[in-house]
Amino acid sequence: MAMKSYNPYEIAQAQFDRIADLLKLDQAARDLLRVPTREYHFTIPVHMDDGSVQVFQGFRVQHNDARGPGKGGIRFHPLETIDTVRALAMWMTWKCAVVDVPLGGSKGGVVCDPHNLSARETEQLCRGWVRQISRDVGPHLDVPAPDIMTNPQNMLWMLDEYEAIHGGKYPGFITGKPLSVGGSQGRKEATGYGVVFTIREALKELNREPRNTTASIQGFGNVAQHAIQLYERIGGTVVCVSSWNQADQTAYSFRKASGIRYEELLAATDAFGGIDVAKARDLGYEILPGDAWLEQDVEILIPAALENQITQENAARIHPRAIVLAEGANGPTSPEADTILSERNIFILPDFLANAGGVTCSYFEQVQSNMNYYWDKDEVLGKLDTKMTAAFHAVSDLARNQKLPMRDAAYVISVSRVAQACRDRGWV
């Protein structure tokens, strides 16, 4: 077909090609890593509530498992395409490698819209997915997790089906389980804390004391809230957060020059991180436009809400004082803005690295499940700190030594680790 369109798989391959060039990878390694190792396409018949049978299409793509069992979510999406799944599987390989956890990259999905399914039908779909792929996934092969439109309940159904088929208890088959059924402590905190661990290390490199820094944060959801908590604990002051206001259908920034107080803002917040404007005003906060968080007079900016927030159009409004941008959200900075920030010498903590706390904790859940021994929260978060700190320094050292942007350095280190594992195994 002549028509060209946005294809995430091609983009992921192009990205890989660029890094492979930087690494001067040999052709065999490129040929191996450019495409998934294995792909499973299968059908899942489901008996619907009305008595009819509907056949759904399922996938599992295992991009690379040289470093360990595959890891990656299962997506329920009405317009899922194999190329999307391939791209995301590849991305998982790099993501696990950057934090140096011994896992490979996978992704799976089902073409369906859960909005059109009853709970019973969804359960049948989950169990059907496992039935079709149960020989090729498992705690030592490939470990699924929740993703778009799948949830802990779905994971439990899948686990239950897997255990029924294999006749045993295998809690390490899947992650994202509820705490009561083999989940891990610290999952809520993991991503937000991970962001701050990398910020802390970055400040060390920049020879700055956290207590002499201030931060402005976009978002007041789970990631942002835990980032604020830890950042305050290491001595920093958050002076501005922005949050979406449902009633007014717009975002506001809430500023307090003397530093926001996390607890009091939390008390004025709904389940989605929406802060009550009137209450905040009573608490002495200035209410500013939603994008005002970006132009605050602070050292640290943490976009922790949405994609594509810092763009060519607004990058210039970032205050000269800013020195660190930590990407708590996925893809908050557009490529053009990325260039502008680099020129301004702002230290970028790429999403890939900064928000890797989530996948690291997922790995911890798997480890604990396999041992059937569960750590307390401090132990989980302590181990998270170690992993994130090590990951940061590896990337940052490489960036410094090779004079690479942080984002590129993160990719380079992942790809090289994976390529190395393949070589070590004698594959290429």
């Binding site: 077909m1 028509m3 060209k4 369109s5 946005y6 294809n7 995430p8 983009i11 509530d49 997506r75 999406h77 009405p78 317009l79 899922e80 395409t81 999307t84 819209d113 859960p114 909005h115 059109n116 399914l117 009853s118 709970a119 019973r120 039908e121 778009i148 439109m149 949830n151 802990p152 309940q153 509820p178 705490l179 009561s180 989940g183 999952r187 809520k188 449902q246 009633a247 259908q249 717009t250 709904d270 389940a271 989605f272 994609e307 594509n308 159009e313 557009s334 490529p335 053009e336």
Partner: protein
């Protein structure tokens, strides 16, 4: 003065006596209506109750002799002061009633007795005689049915009747004669001719003597002929048959009085109620109704008390019987001489409830519905109220202009609230309050117009909650206040305007009132139901293609149902399709939390008022007391919503989310509502909506009526003969009801071009551009058309990545499913922000342009001038993908209108003249011409006002060079809320500008007030003034770019005489 006092005393004394006598009759009547009571027991009872009915009960004694037995009060002795009457049955003295005083008392009409007492004893005797006769007959019948000797028994009865009740004999004889004649007995025909009423032949068919009055037949003839008739009958009918006929007719005759009252249009409600009570007190042994007579009763009662709408009567007669009315009548409050009815809401509820009760015998789920205790104030109460307070001139008020109505309305409310209710109504209310105690009440309107099928006065008249706490006097006064306020709402601008638009202004509107106990329980200082809501038998908001219209829709909330009935801007009800409760609107955790109710309406018993509070606060304070809380909430734990288990809820630490999950999945609730919707739709013969509330134990039906459509969701009439070039697109799948009118702009995201975008940043930019357009384009006057799923996240090739705030000003969201090479994209049905769309009335439509018989005017969408570049130059690089079409500009003044009819599953978008763009979708349904209240009033008035403003503006004084209009006024699309966008080109000094602004401010406030008077819309100033300078124009900055622009240019408004132009 003294004399006066004396006469008053005398009057009082007399009244007391009458009361005693009446009471005596009642007590006697009560005896007769006891089932299975023997004659002896009745007589003993009468002897007991008599003394209390006489003037001097302490010395009064009574005795009845009958069939050789003597029944008397213990102190009875023969005395000189006695009153006697014989009991005569079949012309034989069978006994006697005697009343005596044992001591002397002052003389009165008859000895010491009053003439009323004389009458009283006769009445009692009469009643007793009938009973004795009845008993005698019964014995005869019984012995007949036991033995075979029946030959002459009917003769005995006839003899008996001849002597006791000749009129009854006449009626029975006539019936027998007709029966024989009908059976083809020729002799009977001849007899009919001789003494019967004129037959049809006499009246017209035969052609002779037509102009002469037909012969008058004296009843006497028939009476004399009765012997002959029955002899004839005995030759043609069996003895048994004759006897059973006579028996049935005698019984049927007993209910004759009720027929008379019901068929008499002059009979008042009081008379009807009296007759029903009498009928009810006839013992079951006295009545035997033939099916047609029973039906006559039903129909008459329905017409007189509920509604005379033929469709309603048709339905109701199958479910409401005379006894149902007896129950109802006890709770009707009515003015003296009332001819009122209960009104639409009350009738609908009564009917629906009885349907559920009757069908509930076989379907227990239906029988489990309860109805809150309800009192009714008849529809003519308001007329009596007006009359009582001399407020007649208010009625003329409806013929005033809406502006006048609006201005005078607060005054009417004031007058009404300060007027008294007539005493008989106040008394009725007092009784009602004694009945309900301190339960909170809702006072609802129930007008006669409301029960006209097809008119929906939903929300037009008031419903008021009252806490009903405190001393009775205070409660009564609050109730009175509420009623007068509901009365006043009859004259409110909204209903008057609504009626005017539908040609109903001449209808003689009367307003009934429903006083209903609020279903609920006390929780701390609050009173509220566990949950409440509305249910529709047809679903107009389907969120999945698997949901069918007939699956219905439930909107429910915790607490009072007000939050489910109304659309809310900042909160959401739980939506469920009762036909498919497993298909939920919200699937992901985020959706479930986001779209869960956060606030609750309730009654604060301490503050005596209706309140809205945060559910979070209510539960943390009183969660333990909340009925069936475990079924209503889920606990957010570990990114998962869990159902509360047996251990219950830790209300301090648990994060509770209202989901109704337990109620939906673990109780028969949904089943119950679905079944009710189904049977009510079937019996009403049309879609219905009902209001319900649940107090934690039972489900209550609060209201039921033919499904009302909001203004926006009435099915539209699709015009059939539209020139093809006027059609923008058509649709034949998943269409809902409604009309979207006055669309001036289309934002079209070309599916082909969108699919060809190769960079993710470009795909994201499309979403951002749409968000910006959402801010610039006129609110609710543009539609968004785009590929696949609006609001896609993650894989945004599937649809434009927008959040609700990026589309919240649009009038309609259209998803286009164009066949791609491999597949037809599955559409989202707006699920990414479905409930936001519902609450904001933003419509949704899916298009399948590749289907057969579908029109899709791609030519228009692709070739019409694209204004994106001038609106958002920063997104010019996307102008291939995003096309913004200024419809009036491109078509010479046309706008787009989208008509949707779910019943035939079809929709069409047409280009139409704005003045023909009727937003009233189906005028012929109501059968009236549309009131000449045109849509284009708003902009025209605005433009004229601006022209006036321009005339009186002194350009030299203020330094004004020119005036322009932009925006909705200029585009002829202004609505009642629109402001007037005024572009003022200035050249003067800063001082001049300040005085100009304050001069314009004055105009703005003044116009805003005028607009309020015209439309009832309150705005904070109407002018939106944009100041521009020469420099702005030169650099084509901001609004200055509109002057002489190619698209949507500003309109020049000539200034007054000093103008420099």
């Amino acid at each position: 003065m003294n004399e006066n006092q004396q006469s008053v005393d005398k009057l009082l004394l007399e009244l007391k006596e009458r009361a005693k006598e009446l009471n005596c009759i009642y007590r006697v009547e009560e005896l007769f209506s006891v089932a299975d009571i023997t004659l002896e027991e009745i007589i003993r009872g009468i002897v007991r109750v008599i003394p209390a009915g006489w003037q001097y009960p302490d010395v009064c004694e009574a005795r009845i002799t009958y069939a050789g037995a003597i029944y008397q009060t213990p102190g009875f002795s023969t005395a000189p002061w006695e009153l006697s009457v014989n009991l005569i049955v079949q012309e034989e003295v069978v006994g006697q009633i005697t009343v005596c005083y044992t001591e002397e008392r002052p003389p009165a009409d008859v000895g010491p007795f009053l003439k009323e007492e004389h009458k009283l004893i006769n009445t009692i005797a009469d009643r007793l005689e009938r009973r004795i006769l009845h008993e005698t007959l019964r014995t005869v019948f019984e012995s007949q049915s036991q033995s075979s000797r029946v030959e002459t028994d009917w003769q005995v009865i006839l003899d008996l009747l001849r002597r006791t009740d000749p009129k009854l004999l006449t009626r029975i004889s006539r019936k027998m004669l007709h029966l024989l004649s009908w059976a083809g007995v020729e002799d009977a025909d001849r007899m009919l001719e001789r003494c019967g009423p004129p037959s049809w032949n006499d009246l017209g068919g035969a052609g002779e003597e037509v102009n002469r009055p037909s012969r008058v037949n004296v009843t006497q003839d028939l009476q004399a002929a009765s012997q002959e008739i029955f002899e004839l009958a005995s030759r043609h009918l069996g003895e048994k048959e004759i006897l059973s006929k006579i028996r049935a007719w005698i019984k049927e005759d007993r209910s004759g009085f009720l027929v008379k009252i019901l068929e008499n249009p002059a009979a008042s409600l009081a008379e009807i109620i009296g007759a029903i009570e009498r009928f009810h007190h006839l013992g079951p042994e006295d009545i035997e109704l033939s099916a047609p007579r029973e039906l006559t009763f039903r129909v008459s009662l329905i017409r007189r008390i509920l509604s005379d709408d033929p469709q309603f009567v048709q339905m109701a007669k199958r479910f409401l019987d005379v006894n149902n009315f007896f129950e109802l009548l006890h709770r009707i409050i009515y003015p003296a001489g009332s001819h009122g009815r209960l009104g639409g809401k009350s009738s609908g509820l009564a009917l629906a409830w009885h349907i559920l009760q009757k069908l509930g015998v076989d379907v227990p789920l239906l029988g489990q519905f309860k109805m809150p205790k309800t009192w009714y104030l008849t529809s003519d109460g308001i007329l009596r109220f007006i009359d009582y307070n001399d407020l007649e001139e208010i009625v003329e008020h409806k013929y005033e202009s809406v502006a006048q109505v609006r201005q005078e309305y607060p005054y009417i409310v004031h007058i009404f609230k300060n007027s008294a209710l007539p005493p008989e109504i106040m008394n009725g209310l007092s009784v009602a309050l004694d009945d309900v105690g301190e339960t909170p009440l809702i006072v609802r309107s129930s007008s006669l117009l409301e029960d006209r099928m097809g008119t929906s006065f939903a929300g037009k008249y008031k419903s008021l909650f009252i806490a009903n706490q405190g001393p009775k006097q205070q409660r009564l006064s609050a109730l009175k206040d509420a009623i007068t306020e509901v009365y006043a709402s009859t004259f409110g601008p909204d209903p008057i305007e609504y009626r005017a638009e539908r040609g109903l202004v001449d209808f003689h509107e009367e307003m009934g009132i429903m006083i209903q106990e609020v279903v609920g329980t006390r929780i701390g200082r609050y009173y509220l139901p566990a949950l409440a809501g509305v249910a529709f038998s047809q679903n107009e908001f389907r969120w999945s293609r698997r949901i069918r219209r007939e699956d219905g829709l439930l909107r429910m909330v915790p607490g009072l149902g007000t939050r489910a009935v109304d659309r809310m801007a900042d909160d959401y009800p739980i939506l469920i399709a009762p036909g498919q409760p497993a298909l939920r609107v919200n699937i992901t955790l985020d959706e479930k939390i986001h779209y869960s109710p956060k606030k609750i309406d309730l009654i604060n018993l301490e503050k005596n008022r209706f309140e809205t509070v945060e559910i979070k606060h209510l539960l943390s304070e009183f969660g333990d007391e909340y009925p069936m809380l475990n079924q209503l909430v889920s606990i957010l734990r570990d990114d998962r919503l869990e159902q509360p288990t047996g251990l219950g809820i830790e209300r301090e630490s648990d994060h509770l989310v209202v989901t109704f999950e337990g109620l939906i999945t673990r109780t028969p609730f949904i089943d119950q509502v679905r079944t009710a919707l189904k049977v009510l739709q079937k019996e009403f013969g049309r879609p219905v909506d009902l209001e319900f509330a649940h107090d934690g134990r039972d489900l209550y039906l609060l209201q039921c009526r033919a499904q009302s459509y909001g203004e926006a969701t009435q099915p539209a009439v699709l015009p059939r003969e539209i020139p093809q070039e006027r059609i923008l697109f058509s649709a034949r799948r998943y269409v809902s009801n409604g009309v979207v009118s006055g669309i001036t702009h289309i934002v079209y995201v070309d599916p082909q071009k969108y699919a060809e975008l190769t960079h993710r940043s470009d795909l994201l930019a499309v979403g951002r551009a749409v968000g910006k357009l959402n801010q610039i384009l006129p609110k609710r006057q543009f539609i968004l058309m785009g590929p696949g799923r609006w609001g896609s996240r993650g894989d945004i090739r599937l649809g434009v990545s927008v959040s609700y705030s990026d589309i919240n000003n649009s009038a309609m969201l259209i998803e286009i499913a164009r066949r791609q090479r491999e597949y037809v994209p599955e559409l989202s049905f707006g699920t990414h922000f479905f409930q936001d769309l519902v609450e904001a009335s933003i419509r949704y439509l899916p298009l399948y342009p590749d289907d057969a018989n579908i029109l899709f005017n791609e030519q228009f969408l692709l070739t019409t001038n694209n204004t994106l570049n001038s609106l958002l130059p920063e997104f010019a690089h996307l102008s291939d993908t995003i096309r913004v079409i200024d419809v009036p500009y491109a078509t010479g003044g046309l706008v787009v209108q989208i008509l949707m009819d779910a019943e035939i599953d079809e929709a069409v978008a047409i280009l139409t003249d704005p003045s023909l763009d009727l937003s009233d979708p189906r005028p012929e349904r109501i059968g009236t011409e549309r009131y000449s209240h045109q849509n284009d009033d708003h902009w025209r008035w605005r433009q004229q006002s601006v022209e006036q403003l321009a005339q009186s503006l002194d350009p030299d004084r203020f330094g004004v060079k020119a005036l322009y209009l932009i925006g909705s006024t200029k585009n002829a699309t202004a609505g009642p809320e629109s402001d007037i966008d005024l572009l003022v080109h200035v050249c003067g000094s800063a001082e001049q500008r300040i005085s100009l602004m304050s001069w314009l401010d004055g105009w703005s406030i003044c116009l805003s007030h005028q607009n309020y008077v015209r439309t009832g819309t309150k705005t904070n100033g109407l002018l939106d003034v944009h100041i521009i300078t020469d420099e702005d124009i030169q650099k084509r900055r901001s609004f200055a770019a509109k002057i002489g622009a190619t698209t949507d240019p500003a309109r020049f408004i000539p200034l007054g005489k000093h103008t420099s132009h």
